[in-house]
């Protein structure tokens, strides 16, 4: 059940000294004795397996629901990539390959829980009921996010790597202060694990026992850098040194992601504090549409991960167990088409912001300089209208 994701990759070490037993120290060192255990409930072949600690019991409808979420999310993502190629979007950050991690964790959430995403959590947004078209505004360049985070308890996409983990921690501190039993989840990547802010979020959440789940999608790459550039031990182990549990889950197994996230959220609700979940997955596509992964990684790595596809394995289960018939898959195909069409139309008809909009919302209570600049700009714009009028 163990997945050796990066074992085949050549180690990159700029230091030439003998790199001996890295984690095996002497007394007090407490080096991990065993290889990381990957929690898995559904094998790449679509077999249900059990795990001593994490169980899940889902009926056919729920399984179909998860499948539908993943398929539609992938379709939306593909549509966005296409829209970028057509020049309708300036950029797109694809989640291809990470559907299980996002749908599994996203479907573990309650409505009153709160999500702090990175810029790639389109699947989680889907679970929260955020209109997919809303996510495209920032990639089209009409806004910097612009949905109301409170309408779906889904915070704005955050681009500065790691920052949102502190916002999530603070929000969770507030939840605890309110005496609510909601939980908060913060998404971040393997690359982000190196940012000081993420470490500080671990410290604050542990010290204040904040009800937050840190959900790290280790997709093996931070743009061109493999995970070895960020850590030399599995990332889930990071939590331990801050005094809370860390778990590594098969990030391409939607059932395991759901089960482990649910468990972590329940811990948070019960007042047991933070948890780190590392979803071990793979970025199947480029970092963004601007990226060229052929410069830094080999095709066979991708091929190996294709065999672990999160959607195919759930489909295999559904078919094997007779939970879904041909009609279901056909209907879903049609639904995908409709979604694609809706997204395309929404993007193509998305209005450009008004020029004057750049003076809005810098402040809630106003600012004399902004008023002055707005007026000057309006007069300047008007001067063209005048000369055109002449």
């Amino acid at each position: 059940m163990t997945v050796e994701g990066t074992a085949a990759r050549k180690p990159r070490r700029s230091v030439k000294r003998t790199s001996a037993s890295a984690t095996k120290g002497r007394a007090g060192a407490q080096a991990p004795a065993t290889e990381p255990q990957l929690v898995q409930l559904l094998t790449p072949e679509g077999e249900r397996v059990t795990h001593p600690e994490y169980a899940i019991d889902l009926g056919p409808e729920e399984l179909r629901g998860l499948y539908r979420d993943m398929v539609l999310t992938r379709r939306f993502d593909a549509e966005a990539t296409a829209l970028q190629r057509q020049g309708e979007l300036g950029l797109w950050a694809s989640l291809l390959g990470q559907e299980a991690a996002q749908i599994g964790s996203g479907r573990a959430l309650r409505d009153d829980d709160y999500v702090f995403p990175t810029y790639r959590e389109h699947g989680v947004a889907w679970c929260r009921g955020v209109d997919p078209a809303n996510l495209l505004g920032m990639f089209r360049g009409v806004n910097h996010g612009g949905w109301d985070p409170n309408s779906n308890n889904f915070h704005l996409y955050t681009i500065v790597i790691g920052s949102q983990t502190l916002h999530a921690t603070g929000y969770a501190m507030g939840v605890a202060k309110d005496g609510a039993d909601s939980a908060v989840i913060a998404y971040f990547g393997d690359g982000a694990s190196s940012q000081g802010d993420v470490a500080e979020a671990f410290t604050f959440s542990a010290v204040y026992n904040a009800p937050v789940v840190f959900f790290c999608q280790n997709n093996q790459w931070a743009i061109s850098e493999p995970t070895e550039r960020q850590t030399r031990v599995p990332l889930y182990q990071r939590a331990q040194g801050y005094g809370f549990p860390g778990v590594r889950v098969d990030g391409n197994d939607v059932l395991a992601c759901l089960a482990v996230t649910r468990w972590a959220l329940e811990r948070a609700r019960r007042g047991e504090g933070p948890t780190l979940v590392e979803a071990f997955t793979y970025r199947m596509g480029a970092h963004t549409t601007s990226d060229d992964p052929t410069r830094y990684r080999l095709d066979d790595e991708r091929a190996a991960w294709e065999a672990k596809d999160p959607i195919l394995r759930l489909r295999a289960l559904l078919e094997k167990e007779g939970h879904a018939d041909a009609a279901f898959f056909e209907e879903l195909e049609a639904e995908s088409e409709t979604l694609g069409k809706r997204v395309r139309e929404a993007v193509r008809t998305m209005p450009d912001p008004d020029d004057m909009a750049m003076f809005d919302h810098t402040y809630a209570d106003g600012h004399a300089l902004v008023d002055e600049e707005r007026a000057q700009f309006a007069a300047y714009q008007a001067s063209f209208a005048d000369s055109e009028g002449n």
């Binding site: 612009g146 985070p149 704005l156 502190l166 916002h167 999530a168 921690t169 603070g170 919302h361 902004v370």
Partner: protein, 326 residues
């Protein structure tokens, strides 16, 4: 009785107390703000009276403090964050500039960021490195932030009240060497606007503009100049973003000369912005270029040199002389 004479430090303490009493969403956060009451005792007694849930000793990590304050604000709280000294705000700079300042705009106005970042700033207390700096320019340039600095006890009390009530993030610079200066505070007076300048002393020959710790120096300079027969107006700007250029312009149109004084280095300091804008607004009124008195382009020096480094009475009067010589 609502009018009391108290040091600036006490006025700030009273203001925080009032805020905690009035609004259950107000929180105090920072290093050593609890039992110790902060290294300057501005939060003295507050944890005892309002509990550890509202007056929160944080881990030693400024980015974490501001970052979690942002999260708390998103949850509906109104955190008042203390940075221990000016030179220690930089680990939080990323959260302040890329998150705190931009969140409201990023959300197209759907969320608010009522966070106050209190920073004891400036020199003159004989401290070691990083404890005497004046980084206000580095915040004023950043859209989305408001930047203010009181010069006296009454403003300390009221401006802090208003900063806490503001739905925008406010960087609140406290002139640490004035903490112990006493002034009257009327806790029932209706305060003026937070971002409005105040003519602290009337005059006809030249305007001195300052804020925070330098207002006192300017008032002393004006008094000294009076003995030499010169009538100097002193404008206490109070706010560095926005700057109340209307009040300043009105003053300069009358006096026709302006000297700006601040502790921060002159190069790219607030004096530059003020000089540029007032020159544009008052081009035909000015008899002399706007002169600037401030810190030199060097790291804040060791304590035994700070008297030379800081703008004092003599350097202000020297600039006044030079401006009047035009």
């Amino acid at each position: 009785m609502a009018v009391t004479k108290m040091p600036l430090a006490k006025a700030l303490n009273e203001s925080l107390r009032t805020a905690l009493e009035t609004d259950p969403k107000v929180l105090i956060m920072g290093e050593d703000v609890g039992k110790l009451g902060g290294v300057f005792r501005i939060t003295d007694g507050l944890q005892k009276d309002f509990g550890e849930d509202r007056v929160i000793d944080t881990p030693l990590a400024e980015s974490g403090i501001v970052g979690t304050a942002i999260g708390l604000a998103l949850r509906g709280y109104r955190p008042v964050v203390e940075i221990q000294f000016d030179g220690f705000v930089f680990p939080a700079y990323d959260q302040i500039v890329t998150q705190l300042a931009k969140m409201h705009a990023r959300a197209l106005g759907t969320v608010k960021m009522p966070v106050v970042v209190r920073i004891p700033y400036g020199g003159g207390i004989g401290a070691v490195e990083h404890h005497s700096e004046s980084p206000e320019s580095l915040f004023a340039h950043v859209a989305g932030l408001k930047v203010v600095s009181p010069s006296n006890s009454s403003d300390g009390y009221w401006m802090l009240q208003q900063a806490i009530q503001s739905d925008d993030p406010v960087i609140f610079f406290e002139p640490k060497r004035r903490y112990w200066d006493k002034g009257e505070v009327d806790t029932e007076a209706i305060p003026g606007e937070l971002h409005k300048a105040r003519v602290a002393r009337g005059g006809t020959d030249l305007t001195l503009a300052a804020y925070g710790p330098m207002v006192k120096v300017c008032l002393e300079a004006a008094a000294a100049a009076e003995e030499e027969g010169r009538s100097i107006e002193v404008v206490d700007l109070r706010s560095v973003s926005p700057i109340d250029f209307d009040t300043l312009q009105a003053s300069v149109e009358r006096t026709r000369r302006l000297v700006v004084v601040h502790e921060a280095p002159v190069f790219f300091g607030s004096g530059a912005e003020i000089a540029a804008r007032i020159t544009e607004r008052c081009f035909y009124h000015l008899e002399a270029p706007v002169l600037r008195v401030g810190g030199y382009h060097a790291p804040y020096p060791p304590a035994r040199l700070e008297e030379e480094y800081l703008p004092g009475l003599d350097r202000v009067l020297d600039a006044v002389d030079r401006a009047l010589a035009y």
